[in-house]
Each structure stands twice: as C-alpha cells, then as structure tokens.
C-alpha cells in the first residue's frame, strides 16, 4: 500500500496542475470569444460587421497616395476597377483582385483570380482563408494590416 500512496500523492500534484491548465485554457478561449464579440459591437454600423485595412510598410512605393485606412462594411471587393468597394489604382493590382467578407463570426478572404496573386502573412493563398486581426495582406507589393 505504500507504493500506492506514493503514486497517489505524486498524482495529486499532477491532478491539480491538469485541472488548472484546463481552467487556463478555457479562460483563454472565453477571452478570445469575448474579444471577438466586443469588437463587432463597437465598430458596427447599422448591425453590420466592420473591419479595416491599414497600409503599412511595403516593398514597393505606391504611385498614387493611399488613404490612411480603408473600411470594410460586411463585404468589400478590392481592385483597380472603379466598381470596386476599395479602389487601389496600381498597375500590379488586377481589375477585381480580391474579396473580403464577413460570415458567421469570421472574416474570410478570397483571391478573385488576380494575375499577381495575394498573400496573407507572407503565404500565397489559393483557397478562401479565415482572417484574424493583425494579419498582413500583401496585394502585389503593397502590404495592409487587417484590423477589426
């Protein structure tokens, strides 16, 4: 029985650690969940989710000045064509370059078959991706920080 009580005593510490790590994980998940909830409450205009793109340090210099911030309300097509929600008039940007939209609590990004492609956090994207705040979106050589 001494062996048993030794193991049991050791495990009592292990149990405490496991339970507390579990609680910390759950608190972290809840924190992320609440953060997501509150940022849509603060920024939304007429019940629509809102995010923004902020130009940041890029490899290439834009020929036309960029705005300080581009807002996205629910959905935005980004490209060179004047029909786009966000117009970026640069040679390496396709007419309709990419689309960002909000669905079921997540922001999605999809490349609309652009010539020069889009990368998120330095990775060239092929399919839809889910965007997180502070992701860096590169369109051609221009970098934008995605903010919500």
């Amino acid at each position: 029985m001494t062996v048993y009580s030794f193991i049991s005593t050791i495990l009592s510490y292990v149990f405490t650690v496991i339970i507390y790590v579990f609680i910390i994980f759950v608190i972290r998940l809840i924190y992320l969940d609440v953060k997501k909830m509150s940022r849509f409450e603060d920024n939304s205009i007429a019940d629509e989710a809102c995010a923004s793109l902020r130009p940041t340090k890029s490899r290439t210099e834009p020929t036309h000045p960029l705005k300080r911030r581009y807002n996205i309300y629910g959905e935005a097509v980004i490209g060179r064509s004047p029909d786009c929600d966000i117009v970026i008039n640069e040679g390496f940007v396709s007419q309709k370059h990419l689309i960002i939209w909000f669905e079921q609590g997540e922001w999605y990004l999809e490349d609309l078959g652009s010539r020069n492609g889009t990368s998120v956090n330095g990775k060239r994207i092929l399919n839809e991706v889910i965007l997180d705040p502070e992701d860096v979106i590169s369109i051609g050589g221009l970098n934008f920080v995605f903010e919500t």
């Binding site: 193991i7 049991s8 005593t9 608190i27 669905e103 399919n127």
Partner: protein, 427 residues
C-alpha cells in the same frame, strides 16, 4: 472547399486535458480498488459519454461550446470521488449521467422547437402544485425532509427539483412581460407571481425542505431585483424573508439546530455537530494539494457522497482542487449570464437568467454550508453530488440554456448570411 485557418484557436486542448485527467484518475482508482475492472469500465463510460456529447454539440452547432467542457470536468471529478468512496455509487451515477445526457438533448430540442413556452404560466403553476400535492400524499421522509417519491423500489426522485424549473419558467413568463393579463380580471401578474412564490414556499415548509426554500425564494428575489422597477416590492420581500427566518429560528427546532451547529459545532461534536465538524476536519487534513486519491478517510463524514462531496474533494484533491471546482462553477455561471445577455427573446433571457441563478445559488449554499460559512442546508452540488434527480434536472436546465444560446447564434449567423446573399444577388 478547403478553408485554411492561419492562426486557429484549438477547442481540443482542454478536451485532451480532460481525457488525461480521467485516464490517470481511473487508473489510480483501478489500483486502489484491487484491480477491479469495473473501475475501468466506469472511466471508459465517462469518457465515451463526454466524447459523444461534445462531438454532437460541436458538429451540430448547438450553441456554446465551453459550458459542456466545464460540466464534464465537474462530472469527472465527481465520478472519480464517488467511485473512490463506493464503487456502486459511481456505477449508478454513470447510469444517471447517461439518462441526464438523453434528457439534455430532449430538453434542447423541445425547448428549441416549441415556441409557446412564454404563454403557459398557469400550466407551470398547476404542474408545480400537483407535484407538491403528490409529494405530500405519497412522499417518503428522508433525513427529516418529506421530499422523496418512490415508485416501486427502484426509482425514487425528488419532485422539488422539477418544481424549481417550472417555477423559473413561471417567473420568466411574468418577468419577460409576455404574461401581462391580470388573473381573474383583478390580480396583476406582479402580485400573482408573488402569491405563487409564497404558495410554493408554503408547500416546501410543509415538506421541511429548507434548502430548496432558500434557492426558490432567492431566485424570486433576484428576478424582481433585475426585472421589477418597483424597489419597494424587493425591500418588502427581504423584510418578509428576515421575519419568516426569525420566526422559524424562534419556533422550529429543526432550524434552531442548524443555526446552533453553524455558530458552534464543537460543543456537541459527538452528536449534532458531528457532520459539520468531520467535514471541517476533512478539509483541513487535505492541505494545499490534498492527501491523494484513496489516501484520505472520507468515510467519517455522513452523507459524503451527496451533500458533503465538496469536503471529500478538499480532502483528497486539496484546497486547490476545491478552489478549482468553485472556479469552474464561476466560469459556468459567467458563460450562462453571457448567454442570457446575448439572447434576443425576453422570455429566453429571463429563463437563462433564472437557471443561472439557480446553479449559482445551489453551489453557494452547499459549499458555504460544508465549509461552515453559512448554516448548512442539505441540497446537492450540481453535476458533482450523487443523486439521480439532481443530475437529470441539472442536465435538463443545461439543455435549455444550450438551446437559448443556439437560438441566438443561429439568429446572428442567419442574419449575416441572408444579408450577404441579398447583396450578392443585387450585384
């Protein structure tokens, strides 16, 4: 379509930890109980139930994902302790959890599909009254309270647990404003709700079920504190509670004993103060990390498997284990309050608020009682204590909360998807 998550949040890590805890705990008990295979079967049953319910919950998009995780943490701790105290309790608890899981899904779907809950206040009242009358006529007296009904020799249950849910639904009808017509053309819902509360409390006094009285009356107080703009009603009710409490203390022997034990359990330690003092000894002997599962001696505490299980947790898993249990209840209450705040339907709001208050109060009353912070009244610790009705009703309430959160989520995502579709069509 392959959606790639760049920085994903993993819901799996806490689940893995839960599985690890169960595996280690039940292996340890397997050694403790002389390599009795039944321990392993019980552990496997807990894990299988957790995995099934959690998978269905996540894949079926059934609302909040955290509450079930935390509830199964509590259940794991509870079943571990019950198996350690007496294997047959653990075994029966598993059966009850299985029933509870089924009831959880039934409550979820029924609450989700039926839309007329907010108009049925008279049914809740009649149902509650009938349950009380049945208990008074057919009830058995256990530990001084006449609150058990036995059918045959197998099934016995506590109708007052079911009444609590009916009572919350009835109050929610009044609080959400969907019950606005006066009763018999004269009595406004405000006063009708008051009368119903006092009728239920009166029945409970006849049954001598003090713990449930405390829970029900406090639910009523919280409800009117939140929903009633008229503060006078709240103050009058608190005064009434104090007066009734003082009268009870003066005239009822039962309550006198409880208060005396609370103030000084040591003077009559061998008789009336035995239970609470043994509980305090157990908590103290555990220390910070506990004596280890199977090293303690929880058998000294009477009723250790139901009301006093918190003392056993503190003895064998330490003060840290006990604090972890309280923290988990905190987090569950917080999540439920968030669901209540996010809910759009006023009736859903009121029901989830009431159910949350019920969980929180029950936890507070029994943990406070076991640790001698407040006078002891015997009620079960939700999800941990051994007890069929308690487990099943806790799961049913959880099903209702889950349904409310699923309603909110589907309303949100439905609206977003619809808007997006419309915009696409325009383009």
């Amino acid at each position: 379509m392959g959606i790639e998550r760049l920085k994903s949040v993993s819901y799996r890590k806490p689940a893995y930890l839960l599985i690890l805890l169960d595996a280690l705990g039940f292996l340890l008990l397997f050694m403790n109980k002389d390599y009795n295979l039944n321990v392993l079967y019980t552990g496997a049953a807990v894990l299988a139930l957790f995995l099934t319910m959690y998978t269905v919950l996540v894949l079926g998009r059934m609302g909040d994902k955290f509450i079930m995780l935390m509830v199964f943490m509590l259940i794991s701790i509870g079943v571990l302790l019950l198996c350690r105290i007496d294997l047959s309790y653990g075994f029966r608890q598993i059966v009850w959890i299985l029933v509870g899981g089924a009831v959880f899904f039934i409550a979820y779907f029924v609450y989700y599909k039926v839309k007329v809950w907010n108009k049925l206040w008279y049914l809740y009242f009649i149902g509650g009254t009938l349950l009380f009358l049945i208990t008074l006529v057919l009830g058995d007296t256990v530990n001084g309270s006449r609150n058990w009904i036995s059918i045959g020799s197998v099934i016995s249950f506590q109708p007052s647990e079911i009444t609590k849910i009916l009572f919350i639904m009835c109050l929610a009808c009044y609080a959400s404003g969907s019950w606005s017509k006066p009763v018999f053309g004269k009595v406004a819902p405000k006063w009708a709700a008051l009368i119903i509360t006092y009728i239920f409390v009166g029945f409970l006094v006849l049954q001598r079920d003090w713990g449930t009285i405390l829970v029900m009356f406090s639910i009523y107080l919280f409800m009117i504190y939140v929903y009633e703009p008229d503060r006078k009603l709240l103050v009058l009710n608190i005064i009434a509670l104090v007066v009734i409490g003082l009268l009870g203390w003066k005239f009822l022997y039962h309550i006198q004993v409880r208060i005396a034990n609370w103030l000084d359990p040591w003077s009559d330690i061998s008789n009336r103060g035995y239970q609470i003092s043994q509980s305090l000894f157990a908590i103290a002997s555990g220390g910070y990390f506990g004596s280890g599962l199977g090293n303690g001696s929880p058998y000294y505490i009477p009723l250790v498997h139901s009301d006093f299980i918190f003392a056993a947790i503190c003895e064998e898993m330490g003060v840290f284990g006990g604090v972890a249990v309280i923290l988990l209840f905190f987090l569950i209450a917080y999540r439920c309050f968030k669901i209540s705040i996010m809910a759009e339907d006023p009736f859903d709001k009121a029901v989830s608020f009431g159910v949350t208050v019920m969980f929180a109060l029950q936890t507070f009353i029994i943990i406070g009682g076991v640790t001698k912070m407040i006078p002891l009244t015997g009620i079960t610790l939700p999800f941990i204590s051994y007890g069929g009705t308690s487990i099943v009703i806790s799961f049913a309430s959880l099903g209702i909360i889950q349904a409310i959160s699923a309603k909110t989520e589907s309303a949100e995502s439905g609206a977003a998807a619809k808007e997006r579709k419309e915009e696409r069509d325009e383009r």
